[in-house]
């Protein structure tokens, strides 16, 4: 058992080394100095307290969306519609804020209502993908993809149509909300302690939900073998829908965060790609909740650190995306190699 753990770690380490090697080759091919690039990413993410707080700003949505994705992955679902669910969460949040901003309710109450609306928005969008899957036979990957595009169209229509800025609508988004409707932030920083608190709270909830409850066990049973689960008397359709709705509500909360804590308005690309990045994080941690927070933090650091690249080295900031993706790819391949070797040796490893 102990030996096996060592070998697993060895494979993961070699995946990391290969990913770094591969990215370095790409950098060399692009005529860029690799060491400089890595150094800038490192300094750009943890070089100062301010920068590290920016990493945390990016960490929260990634953490939230990945916690939601763990639920759908556990049920064996590829929730690619997660981007649209984030977007719908942001739309619903903006809608609620607009509805209540002129009322004389306490700001805290308005923000809470807006976040709940966001969760509901994400849940409805995920529920749509779920209904298409369970009642319509439409694979969740394709239903979800279609719904992502619809969500983007809806955002654009709102920004250029009914919610356009006084005068003329523009790609910069809707009119920003007054600071009283922002999630309270630390002075001088863009970081909201409330956001971090919520992110950490929900990953813990998901961890215990999947690990210590009957509900989690059943969801995993549905994910492992849906036919067997059905024969064991688990209402599989209901559990699939629940996984979608719960996962979607966390994606919706991610969108709500983007509106209340980051952008303070609705912008065309409000999801910022966190949904797809969350899918990568979930794959990298092999769907285990315990590892989500550190990996999400690492990915967020790469994202923030790479912002420096265009300014200092005239490189595109998508280098972080390349590194993240290549890392996940090599981890998947290394796992495959490990499984093949184990099988050939008759399972003695």
């Amino acid at each position: 058992m102990k030996k096996r753990r060592w070998i697993d770690a060895l494979f993961q380490l070699s995946a990391l080394v290969l990913a770094l090697g591969c990215t370095t080759l790409i950098l060399l091919a692009a005529d860029a100095p690799p060491w400089q690039a890595y150094k800038n990413i490192f300094l750009g993410s943890v070089g100062s307290f301010k920068k590290f707080s920016d990493v945390l700003v990016s960490f929260v949505p990634l953490l939230l969306v990945t916690s939601g994705l763990l639920l759908t992955f556990s049920a064996g679902l590829w929730n690619i519609g997660v981007e649209g669910q984030i977007t719908l969460g942001a739309i619903a949040t903006t809608w609620m804020l607009r509805l209540l901003q002129d009322s004389n309710l306490a700001p805290g109450l308005i923000i809470t209502a807006a976040m709940l609306a966001g969760m509901l928005g994400g849940a409805i969008w995920a529920g749509l993908a779920g209904a298409l899957k369970t009642y319509g036979g439409v694979n969740e990957i394709f239903g979800g993809l279609g719904l992502n595009f619809v969500a983007t169209a809806l955002t654009l229509w709102l920004i250029f149509g009914p919610w356009k800025r006084p005068g003329i609508g523009s790609m910069s988004g809707t009119e920003p909300f007054p600071d009283s409707l922002w999630l309270p932030m630390l002075t001088g920083l863009r970081l909201s302690p409330w956001a971090v608190g919520l992110g950490v709270f929900f990953i813990i909830v998901v961890y215990f939900l999947l690990r210590g409850t009957y509900f989690g066990l059943r969801i995993k049973a549905v994910g492992k073998n849906i036919k067997a689960a059905y024969l064991l008397g688990i209402p599989t359709t209901r559990y699939l829908m629940l996984a979608f709705i719960l996962g979607g509500s966390l994606a919706g909360l991610t969108g709500a965060m983007q509106v209340t804590a980051v952008y303070h308005r609705l912008i065309p690309s409000i999801s910022s790609g966190y949904g797809f990045l969350g899918l990568l994080v979930a794959m990298l941690v092999n769907y285990q909740a315990i590892w989500v927070a550190p990996i999400a933090l690492f990915f967020a650091a790469l994202n923030i650190g790479s912002i420096q690249l265009p300014i200092i080295l005239k490189l595109d900031s998508t280098l972080s995306g390349v590194l993240q993706g290549v890392l996940v790819l090599f981890v998947l391949l290394a796992e495959g190699v490990r499984q093949q070797i184990t099988r050939r040796k008759g399972g003695t490893l």
Partner: protein, 332 residues
Amino acid sequence: MNTDALLLGLAGVLATAAPLIFAVIGETISERGGVINLSMNGTVLLTAMGGFAVTVQTGSLAWGFLAGMAIGAIVALIVAFGSITLKQSQVAIGFVLALVCRDLAYFIGNPYMGMAGTRLPAWVLPGLGDIPVIGVLFFHHDVMTYLSYLIIPLTWVWIFRTRPGLMLQGIGEKPAAAFVRGANVNRLRYLYTVLGGAVMGLAGPIYSLSVKAGWKGTISGLDGLGWIALAITIFGGWNPIRAALGVYLFAFLQWLGLVLQPSLPGIPSQVLQVAPFPLMIMTLLLVNIGNTEWVTRSLAVLPAPLRRLFARMLRAMRASPPGALGTPFDSE
């Protein structure tokens, strides 16, 4: 709108559909063999960038298209290696590659942004191009558009009317049976996945060297097209002709959106451009719903003539994926 403008518009629909045709046919070939290549969105972007960059470097359009095919084949090879040899999830590997290739395209393509490039020249087919109406509509395009017409029936004939094509259906539908019949299932799957990838790899260069000539990074407007092509493949029910009809319908609807724009001032152009998607979801629903259990059950309660009518309608639209799509094959 006068007839000339209408004709040119419709001819434009055929030209803009060309890259999507290659993408959808490539995916259909791969999926017929049982391998989903989910990397398509990244492949289209990377081949668009790669094809453009190679053409800028070499000055040759042919090398640009060949580079696209090579990149598409290499990405498909990774999918094949991960899923066939290492037996990992095709969806996982393909999805990761979709993101990696996209970011790689933006990263490597950075210095090529906005650079002036060559554009594939139009080539009016002698004789055919002079036919009134039809000439302008079909035969005033570039060579890739003509190839896009050809590849549709060619693929159809290969899959449904030849012996190797029958084997292709077999390895995707019932690999065990094909194996017993003497097929080297995994080697054929490698072959068709890589072939499909190479065909798909033409889509990108057609964009960057013809339809949307140039490379403009994130604002190239190419991000998302691969996902669309994936959805159309499903809509096409793994049949090249039906898939091609899906592509033309999609291209037509997008063009219609642009044309209708001036008469619908309340709706921003971005919305009309994505208008085909709700329609796409609806058609996916119609295509798939006949396969669900509750529909079969509800149909059973209906009186016989009505039941037969509905059943026939659903069957006409229905498409079932190849039986072994997405599952690895092991001869042991």
